[in-house]
């Protein structure tokens, strides 16, 4: 087992999404300060007035405990992208069992880099620790620098030595116990570990030696796994009314990261999902996100979202967001391949971007249909696929076909297109379609010719009962 503990030390203030410098308050005192405020010297426990004295432009907002719990659940959901075994350690820690998925991500350093990038993108500062037991990993995370380098790999043999220098503060024991430990001269875990366990239990109760035993792997430490929800539906209150669609991106990207993690755990992908924008006193607006193929790639989700939000005009200021995913499609993970699939995997993301901006019908493939009428023989399809009818047409066919035949002038019975046309073939009679006169193209009776204009244009023309028509170009 290899546990990665992720601690989000600024969760309280990051949940509020305030512009820096900002602090989250608890009963009028600073609970958590963001990076800018911490650098300026604001510490937790300060009064707001004192903090304002240090940082004049500071924004303080009462912390939102329910919002923090929701945010931690969302972060746990997003962690599903890396491992299915996630557990929540309230109030601000997550535990990820990553021993089983190292190979999938190509080893420990690439996996840690991906985890760091994912949380940085969602805008959460993190501390992390790595240990064979969950509790030791939590202790190491609590002492790690914020947004620090990847933690060193600690195995069973080195576990004792790794936790020994940590201060007793990491134990998170009641204040009274901590005070008595200091009175005893116990500052570091090393001091605590040399004391006889029986005596510790006698003085401080059974919890303290129990903690040590769990951290050192002497007794099992069972953690309740995070249960991924059956259906994905998540919402996010915005800190302020947002009037510019582009500014929704950051908040919405947190929801999408959670969705990507949830999909990864279910081995599923989605082809569409919708983002609800809630307004004050108006019905919510709905933004559909569509994808060319079922996906759970967070980057693809983000790209389509960005493209849609860039072009969105808000009807009213937005106060909160919701993200709902319909029943997902099964999308098993792909085996690593030695050779690419002809660039198809690289093509799908760009096709999505084009469709998001130009419209879903703007990017299409073509298929040939077994129909003699030229208008019916070529049809756009959403997914390019091999044509079902490989039957070659009976005569020459032009590369361009005009959407509507264009009437040609006539001179002594001969067709003209900036000069008299020379007909180069015998007539190819196309007479078909009497059966769908009601809705389709209907019955056609035409004689087609290849014609050459005096300017050297190769044209495909036809004559119906009355007149000559231009229908295609042999480009």
């Amino acid at each position: 087992m290899l546990w990665l503990a992720l601690r989000f030390p600024r969760l309280a203030v990051e949940t509020l999404s305030l512009p820096p410098p900002a602090v989250a308050l608890h009963r009028g005192r600073v609970a958590v300060a963001d990076e800018a405020a911490t650098v300026a010297g604001v510490r937790s426990g300060m009064r707001l007035a004192g903090a304002l004295g240090l940082v004049p432009g500071l924004i303080g907002r009462e912390r939102d405990l329910a919002g923090e719990t929701d945010a931690l659940h969302r972060l746990a959901c997003a962690a599903g992208e890396f491992t299915p075994q996630v557990s929540i350690a309230s109030p601000d820690e997550l535990l990820l069992e990553i021993g089983g998925c190292l190979r999938l991500f190509g080893g420990l350093p690439p996996l840690l880099a991906r985890i760091a990038a994912s949380y940085a993108e969602q805008g959460f500062a993190r501390q992390w620790g790595l240990a064979p037991t969950p509790l030791a990993a939590q202790w190491l995370a609590r002492c790690a620098p914020v947004d620090g380098p990847p933690p060193a790999l600690v195995d069973d043999a080195k576990l004792r030595a790794a936790v020994a220098p940590l201060p007793v503060g990491v134990l998170a024991v009641p204040e009274r116990t901590a005070g008595r430990l200091t009175t005893l001269g116990v500052w570091r875990l090393a001091d605590l570990m040399v004391l006889p366990r029986a005596g510790l239990a006698h003085r401080f109760g059974p919890e303290l030696p129990g903690l040590l035993a769990r951290a050192l792997g002497e007794v099992p430490d069972l953690r309740p796994p995070f249960v991924f929800p059956e259906h994905f539906r998540d919402g996010l209150e915005l800190p302020a009314r947002v009037e510019d669609a582009a500014r929704l991106l950051f908040a919405a990207s947190r929801l999408l990261a959670a969705l990507a993690g949830w999909l990864a755990v279910r081995c599923a992908g989605i082809q569409s999902c919708h983002l609800m924008l809630f307004h004050e006193g108006r019905p919510p607006s709905r933004v559909e996100l569509g994808f060319a193929s079922p996906t759970r790639d967070p980057e693809r989700l983000q790209r389509v979202l960005r493209e849609r939000l860039d072009r969105l005009e808000l009807v009213a200021p937005v106060v909160s967001l919701g993200l709902e995913a319909p029943e997902p499609h099964a999308l098993p993970g792909t085996n690593a391949v030695l050779f690419g699939h002809g660039g198809t995997t690289r093509l799908a993301p760009v096709v999505e971007r084009l469709r998001a901006r130009l419209g879903p019908e703007a990017v299409h493939g073509l298929t040939a249909v077994a129909d003699h009428r030229p208008e019916q023989a070529s049809r756009p399809v959403a997914e390019p696929a091999a044509a079902r009818s490989s039957e070659a047409p009976s005569g020459p066919r032009p590369l361009w076909l005009l959407p509507e035949p264009r009437p040609l002038a006539e001179e002594n019975g001969a067709p003209c297109h900036e000069g008299r046309l020379r007909l180069l073939t015998r007539a190819e009679r196309i007479e078909s379609g009497w059966w769908d006169g009601g809705e389709g193209l209907g019955d056609v009776q035409r004689d087609y010719f290849v014609a050459l204009s005096p300017q050297g244009e190769w044209l495909w023309i036809f004559r119906d009962g009355q007149s000559w028509w231009l229908h295609g170009l042999f480009a």
């Binding site: 660039g343 198809t344 040939a368 020459p396 076909l401 005009l402 190769w458 042999f474």
Partner: protein
């Protein structure tokens, strides 16, 4: 600082330097056009890859796509994708298929105005395509430069079709050519390439829908071919 003569000679041997009178040799060989006479006058021995090729034509339907089809069919045969951006008319699937372009590797993108150049840029930058055909009647030099930059990550040829009236505009494309109809084929004028401009247009025999063209002298009157009108 003086440069010794041998160092100068050595630097002149570089493949990315060419003297004005000599055709450049490219380190990246081009895509064979299917016309040996054309390959001989193209730097790199074929259509350039990862760079823009501008095609100017006053008229459509003179065989401009037929000229490119052998090269495109070769790219598709190697499992590559071809995209047509903003084609002036709908593509007729049976004809493309009959000309050796399997439809499962062909993508059509409908775009208008400024969106066309944007779509091209996205497709080129993705590097997922083997060949790109784009019709850009109203592109400016700045956008062309962006496309030329984006095409660096594109592994195959890029053909931009533009009206002949714009041939005088400055362009970063290293290969620019004009197509005209000629009595017995297609006249290709390479007016910009890495090397000296070509003195005379090249007349290429591109594939035509009809095998032989009867000379004007033996021309039959259209009346004789006139079909019996359908009643």
């Amino acid at each position: 600082m003086s440069l010794s003569a041998s160092a100068l000679l050595q630097s002149l041997q570089r493949s990315d330097l060419w003297s004005g009178a000599r055709l450049a040799t490219s380190s990246v060989s081009g895509v064979a056009s299917g016309f040996p006479a054309l390959d001989a006058v193209l730097p790199g021995g074929g259509w350039p890859c990862g760079e823009l090729t501008e095609v100017f034509q006053a008229r459509q339907g003179i065989g401009e796509l037929t000229l490119l089809l052998p090269a495109l069919a070769g790219l598709v045969a190697e499992d590559g994708w071809i995209a047509a951006v903003a084609p002036p008319w709908p593509l007729h699937a049976p004809a493309w298929q009959a000309n050796g372009l399997p439809l499962e590797r062909l993508l059509v993108i409908r775009a208008e105005g400024q969106e066309t150049a944007w779509a091209c840029e996205q497709l080129l930058a993705s590097g997922a395509l083997s060949g790109l055909l784009a019709w850009l009647p109203e592109i400016d030099t700045r956008q062309l430069r962006r496309l030329q930059l984006a095409s660096e990550s594109h592994p195959g040829p890029v053909y931009l079709f533009r009206p002949a009236a714009q041939a005088g505009m400055a362009s970063p494309a290293p290969l620019r050519l004009t197509l005209d109809a000629a009595p017995d084929g297609l006249a290709v004028t390479l007016f910009k390439r890495r090397g000296p401009p070509l003195a005379a247009p090249l007349i290429l025999k591109v594939k035509r829908p009809v095998r032989t063209v009867r000379r004007t002298a033996r021309r039959m009157t259209p009346i004789a071919l006139h079909p019996v009108p359908v009643s």
